[in-house]
Symmetry: C2
Subunit: 530 residues, 2 copies
Amino acid sequence: MRLAALLSATALVIATPVLAQAPDRVAINGIIDQGFNHSEVMNTAAWLTDRIGGRLTNSPQMREAESWTAQQFRDWGLSNVRAEGFEFGRGWSIVRSSARMTAPRSIDLRAIPVAWTPSTDGVISGDVVVAPMTTPADFDKWRGKLAGKIVMITKPDTGSEPTEPAFRRWTDDELAGRTAFVQPAHAEPSLGGLREASFAERLDAFLKEEGAIAWVKMSQRDGGLLHGTGYTYRVGTTPTLPGMELAAEDYRRLARLAKTDASPRLELMSEVRFHDEDVNAYNILADIPGTARGGEYVMAGAHLDSWVASDGAVDNAAGVAVVMEAARILKEMGVRPKRTIRFALWNGEEQGLLGSLAYVDQHLATRAPLNDPELDSLPNGRTWRQRWPVQPRPGHADLVAYFNIDNGSGKIRGINAEGNVAAAPIFEEWLAPFASMGASTVSLRTSGGTDHVYMQSVGIPGYQFIQDPLDYGSRLHHTSIDSYDHIKPEDLRQAAVVLAGLLLTAANSDEPLPRMPLPTQPTPSDPFAY
Amino acid sequence: MRLAALLSATALVIATPVLAQAPDRVAINGIIDQGFNHSEVMNTAAWLTDRIGGRLTNSPQMREAESWTAQQFRDWGLSNVRAEGFEFGRGWSIVRSSARMTAPRSIDLRAIPVAWTPSTDGVISGDVVVAPMTTPADFDKWRGKLAGKIVMITKPDTGSEPTEPAFRRWTDDELAGRTAFVQPAHAEPSLGGLREASFAERLDAFLKEEGAIAWVKMSQRDGGLLHGTGYTYRVGTTPTLPGMELAAEDYRRLARLAKTDASPRLELMSEVRFHDEDVNAYNILADIPGTARGGEYVMAGAHLDSWVASDGAVDNAAGVAVVMEAARILKEMGVRPKRTIRFALWNGEEQGLLGSLAYVDQHLATRAPLNDPELDSLPNGRTWRQRWPVQPRPGHADLVAYFNIDNGSGKIRGINAEGNVAAAPIFEEWLAPFASMGASTVSLRTSGGTDHVYMQSVGIPGYQFIQDPLDYGSRLHHTSIDSYDHIKPEDLRQAAVVLAGLLLTAANSDEPLPRMPLPTQPTPSDPFAY
């Protein structure tokens, strides 16, 4: 504690390499030359997006992406390129789809099949009924009213008023505000509800039983954007009724007309395929072997899978291209790091960080079973945070730092130290060569929602970069316009340079990054709550 | 001059009714009650958008809108409800359409047929060639390279970075900035090029001659938005080759792939109909008759026609609904104005303000012929501004004020006095009752692009309101999301109240609004230019 406080006190003290080795700035000059003057990052991004397209876990497109990225790593000379499998579920892909309103007038609508729902039987049509349902308690209200209908399951809201710019970069003030420690929210994971089927499965069963012919939901964004996200991918749980997402404008028009005497009718066509040849999904791993520190390694990762409303460009071909470009740069330079540098392209991230979780479970740490046969048979991710204690595996100590990229194509502005006050001053030192590129902020905030989370959950120093937000959250995340156009080349080049530099520094530092204590079951936030 | 300057000097002087009669605030209380507590404006807007949909000039949907609005006026008790025709051209409507990329992979694309292009012969497919052409001089570059191809005629740019909020309202500072006089830009209309066919016609002929099978252009906005605008509507000039607009993201993807070895292929299907039963388009007019001022009248107008990528909601069902609601409010109140109050729903606005031009030409003033048989045979709008002198018709003096609404669904923040320094202080007085609703700015700016322009061009006091911009220009104008969702109910109710109040005040004022001098041919901006 004292030493960490000392380290963070002044830049003068930080410059003295106590725990960490200062970055090799000559090597970083080489990285900058390779990353800015000889970049391949946009070619990589273009292949993943334009050529392969959206990469839903276990879809043919994702299989192609697995092969292509592995081959790229091999072509660039990386070592030990491999695919590590974990059980996922069914593959699914869209062949084509369409939707039309046919009464009171005929127009083409914007629609996408919801992931893992089945095909329609050719073109189907029916009257619509607006029957918003969000919990099983809503079923009673609609029982007996849905036979032969296309059921509109979302309650329509009104249009948005986007009063903030869609595209932005962090200001200095905003970045400065991130350096304050944020006390972790004390959310207590609960086992409640885990024994039940998901609402999506129960809704499917209810609609089937009622004789509905299909369902549609409303896009959660307006502006004509679509997503098509769905989560019923496990073998034996994929739905029986076709479901489609409609553009908010199209959905609301139908809903309004359904409140009049217009009797709107909807025509749907969804042709999709399931792929059951292999229920495993695969993470792609590749190494630059270390020369001096035994099994120790540093790792960078990004998820390769995406949703399929568009080409999964900023979520997350951008991150994959940056990780692969860092590998290419370092390999091209012929670096011989003390520790192994590993590059990981995760699978199944969009369905719950499943690829990185599988890696954690297989290589780093597992967690005790609940000793409840029903709950212990659930997929790992469902109960992970509720199982104590964390049980480190032999490889737990070997992974000395993990860096994740999954926040769009914005350039790197710094790193989230995830509340680790011992690591923060070291990051400040490591990022110093990149300050003039805008990548100097060390935030003490935690960040969630992507593949460093499960590493953090077992005490591995896994970190997520701070990236300029651009229009990632406002209009691209999971949407029908997440294509190559919206990737910013200058930003990606910068990110690859910073990542390559950080990896090399971490691989060669005398000491590994300081760790947080191994997590144990937290006390409840309010011990006297009922 | 002196009197006008005096009027604008102080509010005290303005309050003395010299040229104008102060607004009848008791009547305005009645308008407020009717417009806010008993509004029908959103029902009107919903019928025009949800029920009828996009209303391309001379399409069946526009015919339905002509009938429905006329019947509404009749149902509300307006007088002299009539349709005034003018020669336009062919009607056109979309039945259905689709586009797919089929190589190097298969995906559905977002596309819309370009207005007045013909159907494809079922589903057609071909290799693409990126051949940007903007002038006939570009044809040589592509001659001999287009046979059997689908030609991509737009030069692709890169994605946008929307750093301004899409949705906004005028700030006080912005409104204050509008009160300064703006010297008119001295653009000299030219007769050059009028003898030639339009570029669209020449491009169609070139592509046909080269054996291309279709053409596609890129949407001018990204974000997946489409427009489908096209202007070759005259009998005898509609194109022979199908043309479609692709979403910018889809177009750019094809263009990038065409730069690689991927050989992208495109599949297009466009089923459209032409409607030649009646080449006339019709303005819908309705009156509340005056009681005391002979043929004098005041008029409010909005264009009823729209593009068809969506339902023509903020452009301009919103304006139509406001004009119709003002009519309903005043009729419901049983007003008996001194001057007739006329309500006009224009046609053919999107193709060049053609409906309001026809009204001007038929009722207000015409312009001398050029005495060139070829040029004089062109449609009125092509040569209107180049023909001198303006020749007033007997009705010229009768129209004492025209108010236009065509800037989306934002509430009224004031009015553009169009450089008329004599009218400005009168507007300040007339708008005073609406200051607390935010509608108090009298701008001296001119405004263009809609149906008051041709009235201004012959010296009629035609004015356009200042409306809050909202997201009209940023994402709704002519796009595939211009549907009812994005109309703001509170704004429309306010606009109808302000318009009804202003119409009543103008109809009852002692003196008509001051006019500008009858326009005569301007001197050139630089008399010595070569």
